[in-house]
């Protein structure tokens, strides 16, 4: 069955085998994650964040995740940009959706495909996941057959959407789309966000991260991808699934 909800201002689509009750804990968690970690709620832990304040275990998780990717990217990824409030949104979506996927498994759902605002966790069987074409919203630029993998994409094609390079304070302009495939969505989302902030060098950086495969489109509309992605690619013209 398929369930679509709008949580965190994001469309969450779940296709799975099972009944709706099994999916409830996952959706409840996403609702809770929105309430606690959205920068748009004035009462959230993120909005009330103070570096030396008291932090919940989950917020400490998020802070550690941000610190790791800040270090790994030499500051290209930053949860606190100069002159702006703390905003870990770049990693929270994947982190929260990965936990939702864990909750689905814990509730006996084995075959599922969870899509949280374009970040996907596929489990239990082979699922075909398209990567949106950066210029043509209803077309794909690649199709991947994935099983037990997560796929996260960062892009600059959505209106008002941009990723800022923390080293320069300027939006990244040399990439239009960067997708990371990894075992887990926390890693896939954080890596794609961080690599996008790095610009062109972020493509090779993401490809060199342990367990990560990359598919990127630069501003000149060149595609760069990890050789390891070849075995997941569904050739054009093939009817997947």
């Amino acid at each position: 069955m398929r369930i679509v909800r709008h949580i965190m201002g994001l469309p969450i689509s779940l296709e799975f085998r099972g009944d709706a009750r099994q999916a409830e804990p996952a959706f409840s968690w996403l609702t809770e994650a929105d309430r606690r970690f959205s920068p748009f709620h004035p009462d959230s832990e993120v909005s009330r964040f103070e570096p030396d304040g008291k932090h919940s275990a989950d917020l400490r998780d998020i802070l550690a995740l941000c610190a790791t990717y800040e270090r790994l990217t030499g500051g290209a990824f930053r949860a606190t940009l100069p002159g702006r409030a703390f905003d870990p949104s770049g990693v929270v979506k994947g982190w929260a959706a990965q936990r939702a996927a864990d909750l689905l498994r814990a509730n006996g759902v084995r075959k599922f495909c969870l899509n949280a605002g374009g970040d996907v966790v596929a489990a239990g069987r082979s699922w075909s996941v398209g990567i949106r074409h950066p210029d043509l919203p209803h077309e794909l630029c690649a199709v991947l057959a994935v099983r037990k993998l997560a796929v996260a994409t960062s892009g600059s094609y959505e209106r008002g959407e941009h990723v800022v390079d923390g080293r320069t304070g300027q939006p990244t302009r040399d990439l239009v789309s960067l997708t990371v495939v990894a075992r887990n969505l926390t890693v896939a989302d954080a890596t794609s966000t961080a690599a996008f902030a790095m610009g062109t060098p972020g493509i090779a950086w993401a490809a060199a991260r342990p367990g990560c495969l990359v598919h990127a489109v630069d501003a000149h509309r060149r595609v760069y991808r990890s050789p390891g992605l070849d075995r997941l690619l569904v050739p054009s013209g093939t009817m997947a699934s």
């Binding site: 398929r2 679509v4 201002g9 994001l10 469309p11 689509s13 296709e15 270090r71 790994l72 990217t73 030499g74 495909c113 899509n115 605002g117 374009g118 970040d119 996907v120 596929a122 075909s128 996941v129 398209g130 990567i131 949106r132 074409h133 950066p134 919203p137 077309e139 794909l140 630029c141 690649a142 199709v143 796929v151 994409t153 892009g155 600059s156 094609y157 959505e158 209106r159 959407e161 789309s177 493509i203 090779a204 950086w205 490809a207 060199a208 342990p210 367990g211 990359v214 509309r221 060149r222 595609v223 991808r225 990890s226 050789p227 070849d230 054009s236 013209g237 009817m239 997947a240 699934s241």
Partner: protein, 143 residues
């Protein structure tokens, strides 16, 4: 753990020629290179010779299924006195790995593709964008 040890030993073995050809000048006088047998494993190092300063040589990075690893080997004179596994690459280290990975990336021209799919990955961050997206069409089909 055994895998790490194998990686470490291989990396140490790879470093042996380095010890001869790129020594720190203050440690090994170029004129009179002694040729002592190097210990076969890091655990059996001979006691350090007093009066010689230690030199740390960083090994090249080896990609394992657990991620990139490198060893840092400390020499005292020509004797290995310590081998450390460097597991978490620092930023400069990451950048260097990235630079070495760049030529291995496949390149192609961007193409549009239309296929039957289960889900779409993309920067669909707002419900407004979603309403007009391929994923919304897929979700509608699924109901």
């Amino acid at each position: 753990m055994r895998k790490f040890l194998v990686v470490a030993l291989l990396a140490v073995a790879a470093l042996v020629p380095l010890a001869w050809y790129r020594p720190a000048p203050s440690v090994l006088p170029a004129a009179a290179l002694p040729a002592p047998a190097l210990p076969s494993s890091p655990g059996t190092s001979a006691p350090p010779t007093p009066g010689q300063s230690a030199t740390v040589v960083n090994g090249s990075t080896v990609d394992t299924e657990f991620g990139p690893y490198a060893v840092a080997v400390t020499f005292q004179g020509s004797t290995i006195v310590d081998v450390r596994l460097v597991t978490e690459p620092d930023d400069r280290h990451s950048q260097r790995i990235a630079a070495s990975a760049a030529p291995t990336l496949r390149q192609a021209a961007l193409q549009a593709q239309n296929a039957r799919i289960d889900s779409v990955s993309g920067a669909t961050t707002t419900s407004e964008a979603y309403a007009q997206s391929l994923q919304a069409a897929l979700d509608a089909r699924g109901h």
